[in-house]
Amino acid sequence: MANRVAIVAVSQNAGAESKDNFYDQAYRVVKDALDKAGMSREEIHTVVSASSDIFHGGISCANAYYWESSAAFLKPGSRQDGESLFALAYAAMRIMTGKHDTALVVGLCKGSENPENDTCTHMFTDPFYQREVGLNETVAAALQMRLYMERFGVAHEQCAKVAVKNLGNALRNPYAHKKGIYTIDAVLDSKRVIDPLTAMQIAPKSEGIIALVLASENKAKKLTDKPVWLKGYSSSLDTFNFGDRDLLNGQLKNAASRAYKMAGITNPRKEVDLAEITEPYAFQELLWCEDLGFCDPGGGGKLIDSGATQRDGALPVNASGGVLANNPYVSRGLQRAVEAFLQIRGEAGEHQVGKKVKTALAHGTHGFAGQCHAVAILGS
């Protein structure tokens, strides 16, 4: 990358319902990120936020609402909709041109004021064919899970293990919304929502205001001793009609291979030290691990059985508890980047992994069965 871009400071709020209103919540997190970077609002050159409009929060043009409280007043800015890792990439591009030295990235989603996740995701459907049949993200995931288990012989228990691991990891993460020590049986015996998905294999609806301060290479070195570099990034979009897609052969491989190429990674199994993956449905962590090249196709079940993705494993996945523990829909991808940043800096607190993390991967996905994926590679 010609002009390197670093993340110099991050902040996030807790996933459980907050009594703060949207403005205050946004203000506090943004202010905290600026304080951690040792910067005033005036030193931020550009602000890129990520949010979603009326179906997430009751405001059309969500950027209108929080513009001032997220430090963007009379600053060059923009907004990304749907996936907050887009905003990370866009802010980085703004710095890479040399037009801006510093940038603030903010992801905003106030889950407690939103309708149910699937009330929103149902609106992704076209109004003529798919809406009538009730397709939403959970229905799509259930179909994908069934196919995954049948094609690769992955067991229910292996999928449930993801929830056991992530909700257990979340016990050490003060920001996590859902957490606890559960057995595989408890996960499988939780309420059957849409077969074969049970309630504990489905992510909650959480609050998530996330802020990151980005800087150019020169500026970053002045601001911190431990800059975390954006080494690679890409995204990829799949075809719309749900029935036209091979749900087990999606676009994550494309997004990942482009991000790896940019970061100079040829063997992700060896070169990625830790991954934070968006797994709104437990089994998806296994499938996404395959697509990211962490194991062979169909090997996701064996990967979790091997213990490699545990917090103390060879390749910890979702040491923070992941999206099953904290699911602010739009902000969840950016939250993965924040967690990757903290792990690389050794600042993840009680959920800091034992191994040294030099390179970490943050993944975001939104849409039915992963219609869109984004992958960011961060490194020390």
Binding site: G58, A64, M96, M123, F240, H366, C372
Partner: protein, 389 residues
């Protein structure tokens, strides 16, 4: 700063009440036209930027999913840029940064809206804060009529003069739309027709107001290297960009000396090396959903002093043959598919400096401005394009 970026081609739909096509097909129409215009294929595209107004507009959320195929974006990196009414210019900014940063060589930008499938005024009312402001602001005209009153009062402009100037703008833009094959409203109107048309929100009348349009616009941005490799001569180089957003609460800021508009333009002028915009620009595509507001933009963009716009409008300074022709395409006043509108302004500016605007070409245009405004008067974005690198 960054790599130079050019617009190498544009595609627009026939805008209007397009009940003959579905929303994805509307998008596809614009996208296929830009491929036709540039001779490129989807394989040449490194990334796609999509954007629109909020989901309430057509009842579909995160429409980049819905239009993945129509935009020829399957398997491509994607960005989804939305900043309310200024979305179209923000899409252009995103495509510019993507190429300028070196992350991509050729980027397709697509803006779209199918307003006849929803209730645009109801949607825009939900832009406003739900507890205090939403009850007062009945869609866009409410905000814009208050703003025009503030402006008149602030600079002591006689209402009759403003009325005459606004009617002049309406008449000339409606005439211009006949020279734009893609324009929506094609209606011959007289000054008296405008002044006697139905009141929408005093002092704004029906012929002062833009329509609800269905439409899409697609624009291809390319790096200098790609332009050379493709052997393109007639391109529109991006010379400057600017964007600002201000207070959410409508009453908190001065909407006559309008900071977001002033500072967005200044940022773009500084990059483009423009000191005297009325002289240095050859044409401007100003976002003008309301005739009154167009005059305020002239002032905030430095085309003239504050309070002077109505006099200059009546002298023809901003008409097709004037010193700085504004909205020779007929502008937003005659065509407004909101998510596409800002990108259409940029596309029209690019067509002018590429000498490809056809019957509404302003001869010899070398430097042009495209602009869009969003929120309840909250956001302004500008892109300046030029014929020379």
């Amino acid at each position: 700063m960054g790599r130079p970026v050019a617009i190498i081609g544009v595609g627009q739909t026939k805008h209007g009440r397009r009940m003959d096509v579905s929303y994805p097909d509307l998008v596809r129409e614009a996208v296929l036209r830009v491929f036709e215009d540039t001779g490129l294929t989807p394989n040449d595209i490194d990334g796609v930027v999509s954007g629109t107004m909020p989901s309430m507009m057509e009842g579909v959320a995160l429409t980049h999913f819905y239009f993945a195929d129509a935009m020829q974006a399957v398997g491509k990196p994607i960005m989804k840029t939305e900043t309310c009414g200024s979305t179209g210019v923000s899409i252009a900014h995103t495509a510019f940064y993507w190429v300028s940063s070196g992350m991509a060589d050729i980027v397709l930008a697509v803006g779209h809206e199918k307003m006849n499938e929803g209730d645009s005024q109801a949607t825009m009312t939900t832009v406003c804060e739900p507890f205090y402001q939403r009850h007062f602001v009945a869609g866009a005209p409410g905000a814009f009529s208050m703003q025009s009153r503030v402006w008149m009062d602030n600079f002591g402009i006689p209402e009759d003069k403003v009325r005459d100037a606004a009617a002049y703008i309406s008449k000339t833009h409606h005439d211009s739309a006949f020279d734009n094959p893609y324009a929506h409203v094609k209606l011959r109107v007289t000054i008296d027709d405008v002044k006697n048309s139905k009141i929408i929100t005093y002092p704004i009348r029906l012929l002062d107001v833009c329509p609800n349009s269905d439409g899409a616009c697609a624009v291809i941005f390319a790096s200098e290297e790609a332009v050379r490799k493709l052997g393109r001569k007639k391109v529109a180089w991006v010379k400057g960009i600017g964007f600002r957003g201000e207070e959410y609460y409508f009453g908190d800021s001065d909407k006559a000396v309008w900071q977001s508009a002033i500072q967005a333009a200044k940022e773009a002028y500084d990059q483009a090396g423009i000191n005297d915009p009325r002289k240095d620009l050859d044409v401007a595509e100003v976002y003008n959903p309301f005739t009154f507001q167009e005059m305020m933009f002239y002032e905030c963009f430095g085309f003239c002093g504050f309070g002077e716009a109505p006099d200059l409008v009546l002298k023809g300074t901003f008409a097709r043959g004037g010193q700085l022709p504004c909205d020779p395409s007929g502008g937003t006043l005659c065509t407004n598919p909101i998510g596409a509108t800002g990108l259409i302004r940029v596309a029209e500016a690019a067509l002018q400096v590429m000498d490809k605007a056809g019957d509404h070409q302003i001869p010899g245009s070398k430097m042009a401005l495209g602009h869009a405004m969003g929120g309840a008067d909250q956001f302004n974005g500008v892109m300046i394009v030029g014929s020379e690198l």
